[in-house]
């Protein structure tokens, strides 16, 4: 068994003439917290889309848990334990926060048509379990007061929290967060960062795209820098911070 949870080889995606992703070899280890950074349009979200199968690559291979998922469907890789969030939050607007979470955690069997018609006592018990778990997560993320609100009524930051909570309902092995801190106020962002760190400590492998450099440097064990679709640097936060290419392409030379 290798220590690699996710690996991509020779992964390329172009839009028209534009090379959005062009990665020769990149892998992510179990239990590591990795951040992917890079300028706007660097291909970070496209990379997420390819790995989670929401987009089809031009060429290349993707392995998750040593399984080739190159041609897999999004829901199938999700069932393997790869859960991603979206940069533009995708919550179920006209469902309550609680329903958002319970739907996420619900098993295929529990969701089935016939199970739903007969509605046995064991399925009621299962639903109760989901509800308890959902409340635990809501408390943890400080949104339990909103449990009965429609998700569309949440603020942008709260939606980010809901989406994170919804992912956690699935007990992910690999959690891919696309800008989890965007639009979250500084105080909450700090809490959220703490929370992400805790999840990592609990053994969830985390891959995070984030523009908040301070946050990234603080919690990441490893940083990957993308620019124009290519990996221009990777390594510990310190290494990356001092890398000239990175400073030039992304961090800027100014003494910010």
């Amino acid at each position: 068994m290798s220590n690699k949870l996710l690996e991509v080889k020779n992964l390329k995606k172009t839009f028209g003439g534009l090379k959005a992703v062009d990665i020769e070899n990149l892998s992510f280890n179990k239990n590591e917290l990795t951040s992917v950074i890079g300028p706007n349009g660097a291909g970070k979200t496209t990379f997420f889309d390819l790995v989670s199968r929401f987009q089809q690559q031009d060429i290349g291979e993707i392995y998750f848990k040593d399984k080739k998922i190159t041609k897999s469907q999004p829901y199938k890789v999700s069932r393997l334990g790869l859960i991603r969030t979206f940069q533009l939050t995708k919550v179920f607007d006209r469902m309550t926060v609680l329903e958002n979470l319970m739907f996420s955690g619900s098993s295929i069997k529990n969701d089935s048509f016939f199970q739903s018609i007969i509605s046995t006592s064991s399925s009621k018990k299962y639903e109760k379990g989901l509800k308890d778990k959902a409340f635990e997560i809501m408390k943890d993320l400080n949104i339990e007061k909103m449990s009965e609100s429609y998700a569309r009524e949440l603020s942008g930051g709260q939606k980010k929290l809901l989406e994170l909570g919804r992912s956690l309902m699935k007990n992910p092995e690999l959690l891919m967060l696309d800008e989890p801190l965007a639009g979250v106020n500084p105080k909450l962002a700090e809490d959220l960062l703490e929370k992400i760190k805790n999840l990592s400590d609990q053994g969830i492998t985390i891959l995070m795209v984030e523009h908040n450099i301070e946050a990234v440097m603080k919690i990441s064990e490893r940083v990957v820098v993308l620019a124009e679709g290519q990996v221009i640097a990777e390594g510990s936060p310190q290494d990356v911070r001092n890398n000239n290419k990175v400073i030039e392409a992304y961090l800027g030379t100014a003494d910010e």
């Binding site: 999004p74 999700s78 991603r84 979206f86 179920f92 607007d93 006209r94 996420s104 619900s106």
Partner: protein, 351 residues
């Protein structure tokens, strides 16, 4: 239970529309009422099926008439009937309920057939596929004359259902000077409406219903959470199609004969109007939407006579369209979420 203002308005409007029938008709009021309520029950059932598609799951289905048609034709061809120009008699057949069950399954499978290619694509493709398929279905039925009776249709099938009419029922209806055959169809339609609603109430509150609403809200998020959105949509599509199939069967029995001209796009349009009137996503909305719709439709000629001296068929059809249009316009102005729709669910989020 707190009775909200939308319920008061709805019930009031329903009574008003029925009162309109009594005011505009000096005689035969009961007969007209029975006729319109029978149609209302059948169309309510069809609209409930459409609401599973659109209200619950966000699927754009513009070929509802074809699901009704598949249910009707398959069922009628399986019971004793006569078909075609010569009225070729087919005395052997299944009992009504067995044929109905097969008709429902056939309508559901027709839904599956249309859905399989379309569900993988964006929402508007389903709309296009269903419009086209409904017309193809109708033309096929017309041209396969040796099986379906073509333009001559199917007749003499009513007995399969009417023979179950109890004697006391006939006596009671006769005392009211009404036609027992139609009341029987109406009664069974409304009974079916309530059974289907009970089933859907359970389903839409269940994990399955929750999954469909999630699909309606955001398919990508559903996929990202490990759920097979395509399969969920197909299930919803089959369920709604099956319900439409039952409505088609009752519609045929109400007419007493069936021709392809029944299952035209106008039928789909009427069912949409009823669903929107009742409130998209509201379980009971189609009941009231349908009664009000049919009360107004059935008074078309009376209303037309206020405009034209001696309205001919074409003018009547025109006035009917105007009335439906007016109804929907008023609705969009005064109550965009329909009579019983939830304001929070107004946003027409289409898959």
């Amino acid at each position: 239970m707190k009775i909200s203002s939308k319920w008061i308005t709805t019930i009031l409007l329903t009574f008003l529309s029925i009162a309109l029938v009594f005011v505009l008709n000096p005689d035969g009021q009961l007969r007209i009422l029975a006729n319109l309520l029978t149609f209302a029950g059948i169309y309510a059932l069809a609209a409930i099926g459409l609401n599973v598609h659109f209200g619950l799951t966000g699927l754009l289905n513009f070929g509802h008439a074809s699901f009704m048609g598949v249910g009707a034709y398959v069922t009628l061809l399986l019971i004793p009937h006569a078909a075609g120009r010569e009225g070729e008699i087919n005395e052997n057949g299944l009992p009504f309920l067995a044929a109905l069950a097969i008709g429902i399954v056939a309508a559901a499978l027709f839904g599956l057939l249309l859905g399989l290619p379309a569900m993988r694509l964006r929402g508007d493709y389903l709309a296009i596929v269903t419009i086209a398929a409904a017309e193809i279905f109708r033309l096929l039925i017309r041209d396969l004359e040796s099986i379906t009776g073509g333009v001559y249709g199917i007749i003499n099938f009513s007995d399969a259902l009417q023979k179950y009419r109890p004697v006391f029922f006939d006596e009671a209806v006769a005392r009211l000077d009404l036609a027992p055959a139609q009341i029987w169809v109406g009664l069974l339609s409304w009974l079916t409406v309530f059974i289907v609603l009970l089933l859907l109430k359970r389903l839409s509150a269940s994990p399955w219903g929750r999954a469909l609403r999630a699909v309606r809200e955001d398919e990508d998020a559903v996929r990202a959470l490990g759920k097979n959105a395509v399969w969920l949509k197909l299930q919803s599509f089959m369920l709604g199609a099956g319900i439409a199939g039952i409505a088609g069967v009752f519609l045929a029995f109400n007419y007493g004969s069936v021709q392809t001209t029944i299952f035209v796009p106008l039928l789909t349009f009427y069912v949409w109007a009823i669903m929107i009137l009742g409130g998209v996503g509201s379980l009971t909305g189609p009941i009231f939407g349908s009664i009000i719709f049919w009360a107004i439709i059935s008074e078309t000629d009376k209303i037309a006579s206020l405009i034209f001296e001696n309205a001919d068929g074409q003018q009547l059809a025109g006035v009917r369209f105007m009335l439906v249009g007016l109804l929907i316009m008023m609705l969009m102005i005064f109550r965009p979420s329909g009579l019983l729709g939830k304001k929070e669910e107004l946003l027409l989020n289409v898959k």
